[in-house]
Symmetry: C2
């Protein structure tokens, strides 16, 4: 039962593609992550995933189109939909997704984070 200051949480880490858990409610995790570069194509079979850009610009590639997000914009990737996040420069993003969500979805590689840290 403590408030969360998003900027203060973001200031505690500098690595990329390593989501941190900053809140939990109704079985969902609120996460913060810094993105830079290109992620991997993946999907989440049973989980919808929200990307809210806090700073910078995020491109979410879908198989049939591309979503461009500036700060203050969010997009919900429905379960089962393949997507690939790309940030040409560092972007700060708030994620909302079920606590069961693996960042790389159906893919396992060097970017997979099995147990995101709570900060």
């Amino acid at each position: 039962m403590q408030k969360v200051n998003i900027a203060a949480k973001l200031a505690t880490f500098n690595d990329h593609w390593q989501p941190r858990i900053v809140g939990e409610l109704n079985g969902q995790h609120v996460k913060l992550v810094k993105l830079d570069g290109e992620f991997v194509w993946h999907h989440h079979a049973d989980e919808d995933e929200l990307f809210l850009v806090l700073d910078g610009h995020l491109t979410i590639h879908l198989r049939d189109h591309v979503v461009e997000l500036d700060a203050g914009e969010f997009f919900i990737v429905p379960r089962g939909v393949e997507h690939k996040p790309v940030a040409a420069r560092e972007a700060h993003v708030l994620l909302l997704e079920p606590a069961t969500t693996l960042n790389t979805g159906n893919v396992r590689n060097d970017l997979t984070v099995d147990h995101p840290a709570r900060i």
Copy 2:
């Protein structure tokens, strides 16, 4: 499958304490609301509720303490916990809560919104 620009959505309404649904995922609603003044004490028996301040300042009264939120800060009110949001001046807030959530929780009065609009 469309992105949401939060500022653009907020520009479409000016009333207070009337949440709008702007997204849905995993049985949760993302809502935007403009607050001004004092709400009613209430709780949600089965729903945790997240308040993220986008603009302005929000005071969430709990029975044993008070949480002060500036823009960029959020607080999760756990299910069952009585709370009373107060905004001394207009504040813009993003809410995240289960789709089943009634804004006034266990209370029914003039502020109750049974069917929030989707915008």
